[in-house]
């Protein structure tokens, strides 16, 4: 495929306000270029990010979802990220059982100082998703009528 026709994955990123959002800000301040495929939705804390939102992202046609927050011990609210971590430990198992592609769901800790990591993570996910192609399986589920 040539440059203009290549598949551009849609990636939704749910991030916390105090670490990853600021990390993405820092990537900007440092002018670290990365693919424009990601759409950030800002939350106060990863503790707020419910599993339904991951389902919702796929229903909305996302090809990959990224959830990112503060490293353990750094949570602005002391423990929201620990709650999030435990939630994803279990949720991944459910999705795996359902046969939902875990390669399309990414979790990272990115601090306010890790602008470079943000750029790398987004680049990596975009490349990987581009290789995998659109998430047609879930798009079909989301679009099919009864």
């Amino acid at each position: 495929m040539n440059e203009t026709n290549r598949f551009e994955p849609r990636i939704i990123a749910y991030v916390c306000n105090w670490c990853t959002y600021l990390g993405a800000d820092l990537a900007g301040t440092n002018r670290l270029e990365y693919p424009a495929n990601v759409r950030i939705i800002r939350f106060p804390c990863t503790g707020r990010i419910d599993f339904n939102l991951i389902v919702k992202a796929f229903e909305a046609g996302a090809d990959a979802v990224l959830v990112s927050g503060c490293h353990p011990g750094d949570c602005h609210y002391t423990a929201g990220n620990y709650h999030a971590r435990r939630r994803w430990m279990l949720f991944r198992q459910l999705l795996d059982t359902l046969g939902i592609d875990l390669n399309r769901i990414h979790f990272t800790w990115i601090s306010a100082a890790e602008g470079r990591k943000w750029a790398q993570v987004v680049t990596g996910i975009t490349e990987q998703t581009r290789q995998m192609g659109p998430y047609t399986a879930y798009r079909e589920i989301a679009r099919a009528s009864a």
Partner: protein, 286 residues
Amino acid sequence: MIVDQLRELCARLLSEGTAQVVIGYGQAAPGKPAYPVFIRRAEDADQLVWNDQCMTNLAATLKRREVKALGKPAVIVKGCDERALIMLAKESQIVRANIYVIGVECNGAGRPAMAKCASCDVHVPRWTDTVIRETESQAAAVRTTPSSARYADLEAFMRKTPEARLAFWRAEFGRCVKCYACRQVCPLCYCERCIADKNRPCVIDTSATPKGNFAWHITRAFHLAARCAGCDECARACPAHIDLRLLNLALAAAAEDHFGWRAGMDPEAEPPAGAYSLKDKEDFIG
């Protein structure tokens, strides 16, 4: 005979006023599943039955307003039902002291026995006010079954490719008509307004389409993560025979694997839901 003891106990509890209602099993026709009966007068105690058709988890009745209105209940539980009862207490839905719990030894319910019975390790309830055992029973109250036996079906299923698994669920959920029987019979689905009925915003597409059905079944299963007591009533109630047990097993296995937790096995243990540990695994987080 267990049934005689049950009837006698029921009559006594009601006449002495220990309970205002005894929740037990009644029988429509021989060989048919027993259904819940709510006995409020001692003279009706002989409506109670006890046989291998007593599959219903009566703990689920406790959440209902109309049952709460009947006064202090005495409830008959099998070992597996009792796990749900423990979870209800953990989640502040019941006060143990306000319920009289009648435990009955069970060595398998259903004809043939339900899938869960093969790896059952709670044949005799332990968190009860009274336990009625089969007189000739020599079986140990607690038998340990290896977790491999509990999760054998899951493990077999997980040997399929992810694509095959997704195809399987698309077929399973394709039969779902959103009757919500799975929710209604679940002892731990006690929300006053289920999220599936919330429409501002609509979290789960209400239509019985693949989209709405995936959203619902993901939500149902995950809301029971580390909570589901494994009674399998949802699977039994499903008119479309969707293999809901498999999803419950997946989360039960995850909870046991990660936290050493089995819901409702220990009234003293702190549930992992709503909690966290600094040592929680994060090998999946980049």
